[in-house]
Amino acid sequence: MNQFFSGFLLVIFLALPPVAHLLESIMIVHMHMQMPLLVIAGFLMARLFQLRFPRFFEKWNGNGIPGILLFLIIIVFWTIPRSMDEALNFQSMEIFKFFSLSILAGIPLRDSWKKLSSFGKNAVIIIFTIKYFGMGLLYIKAPVQLCNNYLIMDQLTLGWGFLTTAICLVIYLLYVTFTDPTKYQ
């Protein structure tokens, strides 16, 4: 209940107009801070749903794959420049952003992550690494504005943000590949 409450409070905090306005005024913060924070909020709230509806998760997300696919679809959708634009232009899309990232991405992520094998986990990280490199290059190389609401400069910053995150993910993958936890644990 505590976790649910802190997640819920986080969503409310992020939805406060001045907070939302500040975070959405900078493109990279919109995508790389507000959106992940919403996922984290959902992740925290998930505990209550898992306890309340264990059968539901068992039936629909027994091996974690449906959940992680739903998570991936939602996240991919929100990296499309147009969806960011729409979230800023239409109130309904903004509400969908808050709902989808917390409920449809955060909750399935938590339910699925522990169910996935280490191969599954690394596959998800590899998918993200490739996607981040791709999106990074897209945002850096695109000669025109991809979002109506943000300047090319913002776009470029976001592109570099994607690339640096991708590099960090590569470092993580190298770390799990080349270190053997059984030597230490």
Binding site: V29, M153, L156, T164, T165, Y175, K183
Partner: protein, 558 residues
Amino acid sequence: MAIPKTLKEKANKEMGISTEDARITKTYLFVAFMALLIGGLLGLLQGLNRAGLLELPSWLNYYQVLTAHGLLLVVVLTAFFTIGYFYAGLSHTLGGLLPKVRKMAWIGFGLKIVGFVFAVIPILMGNASVMYTFYPPMAASPWFYIGLALIVVGVWMCAFGAFIQVANWRKNNKGKHVPILSFFATGVFILLFFGSLPVAIEVIVMIIPWSFGWVKTINVMVARTLFWAFGHTLVNIWYLTAVSAWYVIVPKIIGGKRWSDLLTRIVIIALVIMNITGGFHHQIIDPGISESVKFMHVFMSLAIGFPSLMTAWAMFAVFERTARKNGGKGIVGWYKKMPWGDVRFLAPFIAMLAFIPAGAGGIVQSTNQLNQVVHNTMWIAGHFHLTLGMSVVMTFFGISYWLVPYVSKRVLTPAINKLGVIQTIIWTVGMVIMSGAMHTVGLLGSPRRTSYTTYGDNATALGWNPYLLLLAVGGTLLIIGVLLQVYAVINMMFFAPKGETEFPIAEEEEGASKTPYWTERWGLWIVIMLIFVGMAYVIPLTEFIVNAPPGSPPFKTW
């Protein structure tokens, strides 16, 4: 805390540090305290000049003195002390240093000393009065920067030595937690390595080619940003080193136990992850960063305050429990049961107390509007004399009263303990007067890093004079403190009676809950730290590079 099992570890605990390991720490500490002596004398010259009491000769001007004072105390004293202290800790808690690691510590020592000589010669020749922040477009002789780069490489050598030592221990002690002092050392050396990467890039890629004249101009904002990514981390490395003694050593000295192992480890991890991004508050009134970005960075900076508050909580919990166990009574009356006459406790305790106003001052500076009042005034100099000069250095002094005898196989005599208590009092009074005067005169507008001037007898500038005199009074008391401290260290290192001194490491409280193993996943913490750093720096750096103004040629302003 892991219980020592192997024979080697047991022997190490019983017999004390091996001579070879002791030599490393002794040498590092000797250099650190010599740096304190020379740096302190230069500080006195600076303070007297600033108060208008002393005219420096033309061949040794205020800015030269300031550069050397800063370099000696900010870089040499802290780096050598930190490495010497943690290498003794690694040796003690991990069953002696590996021969390979020992060799790395000596190579690191050599590189740092050579680098230091390279840096000092241009300062003495008057070719490097750029002050220790070495901001472009002020340009020193390239050899000054080459010296700094060598110091960084020397530090890296020691960092990797520590990593090898810890990894080796973990392989031999599967599933065990790294002993808490070595856990602190791991955190500190991770920060030393990753924190000095940006400054290495700044110096090697940007400044050295520019100061040699191979490239005509430099991007000043990028250089400043890389500097502060390092500068702020360095500040917190000292702090984390001091904190390690507060958590691990001080409880043992007062006869208590460590309060929570998990909390301690979380504080270390949190400080490592959030530290480097904190550098931005040093640039809070720099141009080229939008206000909304600065606003968010204030959150990042204040986030570092959170583990500090946890530390304060934990410390007072330890003090109160221990004092009550010893018969202390009342809501605050238990303080009477603390060992006030023991310098090993008194000095770090005052250091902790100093961190309360020091931390509050830091919050003032990381707030945009308040920073505009104090930016580049003497307030800032007052702030870091309170943080480094009291919170950190007094903890180092407190450590020296058991660490120096420990590595020298000598004992702390009652006389030296008494001298230490007197030294602590003199230092406290001196620093409170000096730092207080600096803070106040800064609020009145007196700029930092400026030799004495009355600005043509301007009334405002004349109004600063009484405070500047107080500054000189404080500085004079501090030099007495420096002399007493250096005397004590030399005495304990070479002349005190022979004997065994314990390496005081407090045990965990009985019945403490087991610390979960995830705290040992340093690889993961490093990746999270890197993601934090990437996110924090990508916005301003992209802006500075893409929308760069014309770069600046080098300037020699002195």
